[in-house]
Symmetry: C2
Subunit: 417 residues, 2 copies
Amino acid sequence: MDFENIAKTAKAAALEIADISTDLKNKALLKIADNLEKNKTEIFEANKKDLLDAESLVTSGEISKSTFNRLKLDENKMRDMIQGIRDVAKLEDPVNKKLFVRELDEGLTLYKVSCPIGVLGIIFEARPDVIAQISALAIKSANAVILKGGKESINTNKTVLGIINKTLDEIDGFPKNVLQQVFTRDDVAQMLKCDKYINLIIPRGGNKLVKFIKENTKIPVLGHADGICHIFVDETADLDMAIKVIVDAKTQYPSACNSVETLLIHEKFPDTEKLLASLQLAEIKLVGDPDTWAFEHGDTTLAFKKVKNLDEAIEHINTYGSGHTDSIITKNIENAEKFMNKVDSAGVYFNASTRFADGFRYGFGAEVGISTNKTHARGPVGLEGLTIYKYKLIGKGHIVKDYVDGTKQFRHKEILD
Amino acid sequence: MDFENIAKTAKAAALEIADISTDLKNKALLKIADNLEKNKTEIFEANKKDLLDAESLVTSGEISKSTFNRLKLDENKMRDMIQGIRDVAKLEDPVNKKLFVRELDEGLTLYKVSCPIGVLGIIFEARPDVIAQISALAIKSANAVILKGGKESINTNKTVLGIINKTLDEIDGFPKNVLQQVFTRDDVAQMLKCDKYINLIIPRGGNKLVKFIKENTKIPVLGHADGICHIFVDETADLDMAIKVIVDAKTQYPSACNSVETLLIHEKFPDTEKLLASLQLAEIKLVGDPDTWAFEHGDTTLAFKKVKNLDEAIEHINTYGSGHTDSIITKNIENAEKFMNKVDSAGVYFNASTRFADGFRYGFGAEVGISTNKTHARGPVGLEGLTIYKYKLIGKGHIVKDYVDGTKQFRHKEILD
């Protein structure tokens, strides 16, 4: 099937799945989890094939050792992957929620109701657990998806999606072709052009992948390229708290996008020397070079800069940051409020580690990704970010003319439902 | 000033206006309304200049008579324009609203708070009242804007924005450069490329303008190109209701985007002949040609087609419609529900005229436009569509390590605020 047909099929599937019950979706999710568990051996074997192929790529330097490690499915990852699907089944259904009910006039009622977006294009790199996770999120949010995984995990992806789709085929009333997979670079190129059928692209992978996609499509893209997070140590910051939070934000998982990259210190903060010494003791590598201000290190390197005041800190963050997550350490509540209001980022924190920027930690249950967009969804995105809304208007033959010529007047009365 | 500098200035202004009080915004709006009223004569004179220049363009056929009429500001339009600004002052502030408050753990509280998007690029055609309306919406939603109006209304636009900006300059504490204006085609070309500073483009104008913009930018665009709305007359529809609703939806204001363009009739509806005869009596021009199914007439022409059943009606709408607003006329509630769930449009109506698709009629107070997007905002868009949200996290030195190593557990408790 060529890409246009795949996309057309996905749109038809999206229109079907939009109207199925919560029960049917949850039943499908639990069956998928069961069947993946039953067919673990088959999945591990496919993964072994991928790993064998990848070994030579590591030797030749085409893929890194860390990509190789991400590619590997072990018992733990398999258990988490299956548990993740069962967790999604437990989450509240994000669609068909009444967002408001308003009586426009007698017998004329407007409902704003959440609904799926339609067709999602998901492009992800070599992490074979992503395919199960995204499939679960798509089913729960009633969207159709076209998945393009990394070529390194092709056997694992095919096997996992094969088991999932076989499960769905056996469920009475579950629409066909909700989850489809494509494999080539040409498919990606066509996906990015296919705004007729695809409503949202979600890239899951490194900075380069996300930037490439954002630069090559007119379809809305949900995600983030850079994660350049800041911590500002204000004049009145508590030294111990500053050390504790910065060490956590830099070392707890340095390659995460919500790790801190730049430390700004108020020039009147009295304990700067002690702070920097403590950070170095925690094996943080401090650099003072302005060239590093717009750079995501992804390791234990931390840029630092002294600033004159809060305003300079805010301006620095709004200039060099990526709008992801930024934190102030202070005892001054007024400064904290100004910081949180004026820093233009998805997450603005007061005395807390930037590492909290995560869907699970925010209590969303499952995470689609983290967005630095200024429209639709921002910050950690849960199932809600895969929905939009429609307006249902129910009347008794109501016409606009009556309200234009003054025969009738609108009431606009909110109804609690 | 070159465009990049204008855009940079707008971003700085956006960061400033994000943090001002509701009172200051409302004070500014009321002063603007007063000053426009005081300087009416000056505005009418500028408008006369535009009309004089436009007369020759009508003669030469470069602009249509209806564009000329839209260009004309009379006492009524002026009064509505000024009243519109006062109405926006009365609306609830859409920013700084707590969308949820969640205790993640003891002393660690997450706030989801609405905030402005940032910099809006507004491109509109020859309607000089738009500049005042958009300025008011931008101020209330705390966004900065760069406005590009039609060249036909250049004198009126300059005068109106001049009065507005002079008013803002005189208000203590109101940030500079929130509202800027550009004039050339080259400015538009640069605006569409300026994704570094501009967060959202809103085109206000005809189909061609909107299509051109959507095809030439990677910045999110809020709006709609086509308005191909349908009414489906089901087997059990009430004849009188069908006539009343269709006549309203087609003739009440035929050039509006929410006017009906295609009528679908169930082949077992017993009164088809009577229905069509009544529509013709109401001076509706019926056409049966399939070429007209994806076409917005904008006049009293109405395409019609008989369909076998509800499913065919739904499929027709999802294939040829524009996702704007579609209505079913029926006595069968099950069919109505299926129609409203399966038709993939921003508005899905049951026994009501499509002409209700409008921000004022929905009770939003002011309307930014109507969106057929599947992300961010859909249907009539009020002030809320000019906002996004940020997450504020307030802790006492909380770190992620404690939750990863099991020292602490998340509570995720909703707090009513």
